[in-house]
Structures are given as structure tokens and as C-alpha cells.
Amino acid sequence: MMKNIYTKNNTLTKESKIRCNYFRKKILAISQTVPALHIGGAFSSIEIIDVVYNILKNKKDKFILSKGHAGILLYVVLNYLKIITNTQLKNYCKKKGSLGVHPDYKTPGVEASTGSLGHGLSIAAGLAYPDKKKTLYVLMSDGEMHEGSIWEAALLISSKKINNIIVIVDYNGLQSSTWAKDTHPSLNPIHKKFQSFGWDSVLCNGHDVADILKKLKKKKNKPFALIAKTIKGYPISFMKNNPIWHYRSPNKIELKRSLKELEKYEK
């Protein structure tokens, strides 16, 4: 498996697809060892986080997972990059382990303790401010946009010209309980909200790596928010857009089905 991941001859997109499938399979495997994990929201963010970690980010740059409930995805990626050990990952949510559901500042490779929504963007402002040469990537969820602190931070970042921040919103449309558009239809269109707060912002397909990269190239001299349209639970047919997969581990039959679908998807 790992050999495939390092294949150099494939295109950027093809390589990413292999990696993303690896991450999904890894998360599915871990899901069998713990009672529940946020699988839906992790699956919707996979292509985004892969682009940031494995294509864009240089050593100086930092990434904050503001939607901390996708912590398992961050751990799997950090493990792939050999920042988190196999033993650490194996002990996820175990008595002798150090990794819990939400990312913790003490963990190697984790830039901030998140899990309570609406914290990551302000922290990113502080991390980005003193050194404008580094880029701060912040992954947020669209449900997180309901938090007032996000808009305080959005205002602060553009007003103080902290332009080395790139926000990517995992726009999967679902909160833990319902569709985000039913709770706050006025939130849409999100990119226009960011624009009116002094940011550059565009939409993209959050599962299409080429599109994510293409749209990120539009970043100029302003803070940038990429609104990545995604599907919660993607690409597993029975998980897609189904709120129960916000916080549920698949049973053995569902696991088998998921793995089968992923094999097909990779081809």
C-alpha cells in the first residue's frame, strides 16, 4: 500500500486520489477499534487536507484544523508523514494513548487545541501576524460559520492586512443535527460574506484536487477563503449526506461495503 502512495510517475491528481483512498481506508480500520468517530466530516475534508499537507505546505507554513471533530483525519495524515507514530495512532482513544477525538496542542504536528468551534481563525491570526512569509492554512466547517467569533476574526484579519492566511471551508452543508441551510439560510452564499469582510473568496469542488489547486492560485494580496463544496461521507454511497454518519462507526457489513466501494472509486 505505502509503495503505491509514493509512486512518482502518476499525475498529481492520481497520486492524491491514491493517498486519499489510503486515508479513508485507514480511518475505516480505526473505526472498528473505537465506538464512534466523526467519519462523515472526516471523509468530506480528505481531498482538502491532502492538498494542503502533501502538495502546498512548506516547512514554515502551518495548518490549523479549526473543525477539530475531524481530528482522526489529521492524525492519519500526520501518521502518513511520520510525525505521529503507528503506536500513537493504534492507541487512538485508548487508555494508554495520547490521542483523543479532538486535536491537542501537545501532540506533535498539531498547531492548536481545537474541538470547540470558532477558535482556529483567531489563533491563526496570531500565528500569521509576526511572520508574513509563512502561510497559515485553516480548515473550517460551514456549520462553524455560525460562530460569531469567526466573523470577529474575519474582520480582524482583513483590517490588519494579515494576508498570509488561507481559509478553506469544508462546505458539506450538514451540521451535526440537520442541514446548515435549514438552520441559517442567510449564511449563503458564504463566499460573498467573506468578500464583504474584505477577503478574496471563491467556490470550488472540494473533492476535485485539480479544482482546489486551480482556485487557490487565485489568491492575491488579500486573505483568501476557498469555499470547498463537499459531500459528507464522500464517496461511500450510504454515508453520503446522511446525518447519522456525523458520529458513528460502521458495523462489519457496512465496513465491507465501504471498502468495496473505495476499491472501485480508486479505479
Binding site: Y105, A112, S113, H119, L127, Y129, S149, L155, L156, K160
Partner: protein, 303 residues
């Protein structure tokens, strides 16, 4: 104390380029204005947006900077409480959160601007250190400590303006985490902190005429608390008076009462703390304190 804060932070900031000041819409008067003019990159007015002030301060500290986050105490601690708890305390980073005009100082502005229970709230968060200097000199020491030695988050509770410094030949030096004796006495002892310590000195003067000698201590560090010193004070005095501009829940009186049990103190403890009530009195701070039963007269009567 406002002026002392601005002056000290300017002095330290001249040499230490890691010092940042973040304010939430506080007008930069005096030396603070100079700091802004001289170091515009290190002076950030986040606007009326306290949550982002805490988050940004946390981020700066995570890059090795030494930020001081400064606003009126209620907006420094209560408004962005969860950011204080998670970004500063859970992550355990050395940020100094300065709460100005604490306690009942802003009496005429009403309860929205008072912090009767800030020490109680701040003390209860793991990792948080709580400092409440009694005068400008102590404040200077607190700022120096927070700008260098401190490796944890600190809630620095300060007064506003016009505070006197109480420093005498016999006064002990300020040391983080240590109760500081200000004046010697033999008959009774007063424990206090913050600008309300003024009342301790007023009481001392009145008692002097009655030939009662009063020893006064500044308990400027509320967390971690100097238990050992209290043990010694319990041994020395039979009568101890506590004066604080803070709720009877979770402040100095609460701490000392629990230690009195631990160390089996058999003397008398008289506590003058704010009642667990939202009183209103818009004339001045002293009138509001009277409603809480805190006045020189009340204290003298209890002795």
C-alpha cells in the same frame, strides 16, 4: 495603575521586541500612545472584539511572543471566557490577560462593568495564575514577571487611576507567589489585595490612636497561593481581618477560611468581601462598597 501599566510596558517593550500589546478598543493614553507610535507593529487594537483578541494573543504567544491583552476586566475575562479557558489555559501558554478597572471600581457604570467574581472564575481554571497588585509598584513587578519569567497564562487584575504606592522601609520585596508584608504590627493583622488596601491603612491609622498595632499584608498572588505564609500568620495573630473588593465566593476570604480549617486556626477571622448580590449605587465606589458592608467604619466596629 493604568498609567503605570503603560509606562512599564513601554520601558520593557523598548528592549524586548517580543512584547506585544493587544487592546480591545481602549484609547491609548499617555505612554500607551507612545508605544503605539513607536512600535505600531506590536500594538494591535482589535476593536470591540474580545474573543479574537484572546485567540490572536494565543497565536502570538505560540510563536514565542509575549503578548499582553488589555481591556476593562469584565470584557477581558467574562466576555471571551471560553477562549481564555481553551486557547490560553488548556494550551498553557504564557499570555498575560490584563483586567483593568476590576472589582467595583466602575461603580457608576453599573453591574455590566463590574467584576465582583473575576478572581473566583479565573482561579478555578487549571494552569491560570492570578495576580492582583495592591499598588503601582507591585504592578510594575507583576508586569516584569509576566514579560519574562512566567511560563503560564496569567490573569492580572489591576485598578484604574489615582492609586498610591505603599512601600516602607520594613516592606518586603515583591515576589511571585509570596504574600508580602507591608507594615509591621503586633496586635491584629489585615490581609488584602488590590487598590482597596487603602482601607487597611485607614483602619491602621484609626487603630493607632486606640493604641492597637496593625500589621498589613498584600496578598497580590491569589494563585498559586502562599499557604506557608498564612500558616505563620495564623500562629502570630489571634485576630485577622480580610478586606477585598471581590465576592465572598472564591476570593481571598474563601481561600483563607479554607486554610484556617486546614491549619486548625482557632482565632477570629473577620471578612469584608462583596456580598453575593448585584447591588446598584451610581454615585461612587465607596458608596457601593458601603452597601456591601465594606467601610472603614464597619471594619473598626468589628474589632
Amino acid at each position: 495603575m493604568r498609567n503605570e501599566f503603560a509606562k512599564t510596558i513601554f520601558d520593557i517593550g523598548k528592549k524586548n521586541k517580543d512584547i506585544y500589546i493587544l487592546v480591545a478598543d481602549i484609547s491609548p493614553a499617555g505612554k500607551m500612545f507612545e508605544f503605539e507610535k513607536k512600535f505600531p507593529d506590536r500594538y494591535i487594537n482589535v476593536g470591540v472584539a474580545e474573543q479574537s483578541m484572546i485567540g490572536m494573543g494565543a497565536g502570538l504567544a505560540m510563536t514565542g511572543k509575549r503578548p499582553f491583552l488589555y481591556t476593562i476586566s469584565t470584557f477581558a475575562l467574562y466576555r471571551p471566557f471560553e477562549m481564555v479557558r481553551v486557547d490560553l489555559c488548556y494550551q498553557n501558554i504564557p499570555v498575560c490577560l490584563v483586567g483593568m478597572g476590576a472589582g467595583t471600581i466602575y461603580a457608576n457604570l453599573g453591574a455590566t462593568h463590574l467584576t465582583q467574581e473575576d478572581i473566583s472564575v479565573a482561579r478555578s481554571i487549571p494552569n491560570m495564575q492570578v495576580l492582583a497588585p495592591s499598588d503601582p509598584l507591585e504592578l510594575r513587578n507583576c508586569i516584569k514577571f509576566c514579560s519574562k519569567e512566567s511560563n503560564k497564562p496569567t490573569y492580572l487584575r489591576i485598578g484604574k487611576s489615582g492609586e498610591q504606592t505603599y512601600n516602607f522601609k520594613e516592606s518586603e520585596k515583591w515576589k511571585f507567589g509570596k504574600i508580602r508584608k507591608l507594615v509591621n504590627g503586633t496586635d491584629i493583622c489585615i490581609l488584602s489585595f488590590g487598590p482597596i488596601i487603602k482601607k487597611a491603612f485607614e483602619v491602621k491609622e484609626i487603630l493607632k490612636k486606640k493604641k492597637i498595632s496593625t500589621e498589613i499584608y498584600s496578598c497580590h498572588t491569589l494563585k498559586p497561593f502562599d499557604k506557608e505564609r498564612i500558616k505563620k500568620i495564623f500562629k502570630k495573630f489571634k485576630k485577622i481581618i480580610i478586606i477585598e473588593d471581590h465576592s465572598e465566593i472564591g476570593g481571598l476570604a474563601s481561600i483563607v477560611k479554607s486554610l484556617a480549617y486546614e491549619f486548625k486556626f482557632t482565632g477570629i477571622l473577620k471578612c469584608f468581601s462583596l456580598k453575593d448580590k448585584f447591588f446598584s449605587c451610581y454615585s461612587n465606589q465607596d458608596d457601593l462598597l458601603k452597601k456591601h458592608g465594606i467601610s472603614t467604619k464597619d471594619i473598626i466596629k468589628s474589632i
